[in-house]
């Protein structure tokens, strides 16, 4: 069954500090769409090293949102990209769309 994002890590981290949670979610709302767009740009340019770098950055977001299976795919994809293998692009894009939608609706 496909994993769904959640805020468990953020709740644990905040210790019920609602102000922190609000600020942190706002940062995710800003960063994730920007990083996704950066990913799309470098993939379109077939820049494998820049693609690996942004996947590296995005995989932290997957961890924050408790998407451990998707994180594993991102780890593999990052390594593949360093070897100019873009084949996991479609699967990774589905993950990005999923987290973007989730964050947008928070």
């Amino acid at each position: 069954m496909e994993q769904q994002p959640n805020l468990n890590y953020i709740h644990d981290l905040s210790g019920d500090d609602k102000e922190f949670e609000k600020k942190f979610i706002n940062v995710l709302k800003e960063e994730i769409p920007l990083e996704k767009q950066e990913y799309l740009n470098v993939i379109a340019n077939k820049d494998h090293l820049a693609s690996a770098s942004i996947v590296h950055k995005l995989k932290h977001k997957l961890n924050i949102l408790s998407l451990t299976d998707d994180y594993k795919l991102a780890v593999t994809f990052e390594e593949n990209l360093k070897n100019k293998d873009f084949s996991l692009n479609d699967k990774f894009l589905i993950i990005l769309n999923k987290i973007e939608l989730y964050i947008k609706n928070l």
């Binding site: 981290l13 210790g15 800003e30 590296h56 932290h60 977001k61």
Partner: protein, 237 residues
């Protein structure tokens, strides 16, 4: 204890700030989104600990550690695990936190930092004494007088035709000599020629831009041919 946070991701910086806020004796004095700003800050301020993202655009955490003159204790933060073995080869690195960092793991890191800081205090006392004993001087000949200068007081030496200007914090001495001649007498671990007209004391560098270094209030050009050696030597510090 005070610390700074270096990470190009705002979310990652916020996480470490939040973790730090739960440790009463730890003050976050600043956060940086890029390595160069953090290096400039560290060259002018003293901090106990740096929480440092190992993977930043154009500058790895290892590069960062090697660039600092007197690195504080470093805790690497990363989404990777495959840098861990290499990381521990560098003495200032006391811990390695894999993201997402939990409070429990962070508190273990604080224990390691405290232990490392207590060892550092003892080491510093020994180092200071050794450095003091090894202090060296150079004599320059001005109007048939030999004037003693402490090497550590010399900031810049500039070629001026048949003369050289030896600039210290207090005074500039004009000496009838060549840059090559004085270069041969200076210790290589402190002085470096970065341009055909300039030798610098690179322990005095405040800031490095693309093609220049800042020492005190002087901006000194770096020639293209000397730049690789400067960068290599900085890495050794």
């Amino acid at each position: 204890m005070n610390c700074i946070i270096v990470d190009d991701e705002a979310a990652a910086r916020m996480i470490v700030e939040q973790l730090c806020s739960k440790v009463p004796e730890l003050d976050v004095i600043d956060s940086f989104s890029n390595a160069m700003d953090a290096i400039k800050f560290l060259n002018q301020n003293t901090v106990d600990v740096v929480f440092l993202d190992i993977h930043m655009p154009g500058f790895s955490g290892i590069d960062f550690v090697q660039t600092l003159k007197n690195p504080p204790r470093i805790v690497l933060t990363t989404s990777d695990t495959n840098f861990a073995i290499e990381a521990y080869e560098y003495e200032p690195i006391v811990d390695y936190l894999v993201k997402p960092i939990t409070q429990e793991r962070f508190e273990k890191s604080i224990v390691k930092i405290k232990s490392a800081l207590s060892k550092k205090t003892v080491t510093d006392q020994v180092s200071t004494k050794t450095a003091s004993n090894a202090e060296e001087d150079i004599y320059i000949n001005i109007d048939r007088r030999l004037i003693k200068l402490k090497l550590d007081d010399i900031l810049i030496i500039e070629a001026k035709g048949d003369y050289i200007d030896v600039k210290t914090e207090k005074k500039t001495y004009r000496v009838h000599n060549t840059l090559k001649s004085i270069k041969d007498k200076l210790p290589e671990n402190i002085f470096l020629q970065i341009h055909r007209s300039f030798i610098i004391n690179f322990t005095k560098i405040i800031d490095i831009e693309d093609n220049s270094v800042l020492i005190e209030k002087s901006v000194i050009p770096i020639s293209r041919s000397n730049r690789p050696e400067l960068m290599r030597r900085l890495n050794l510090l």
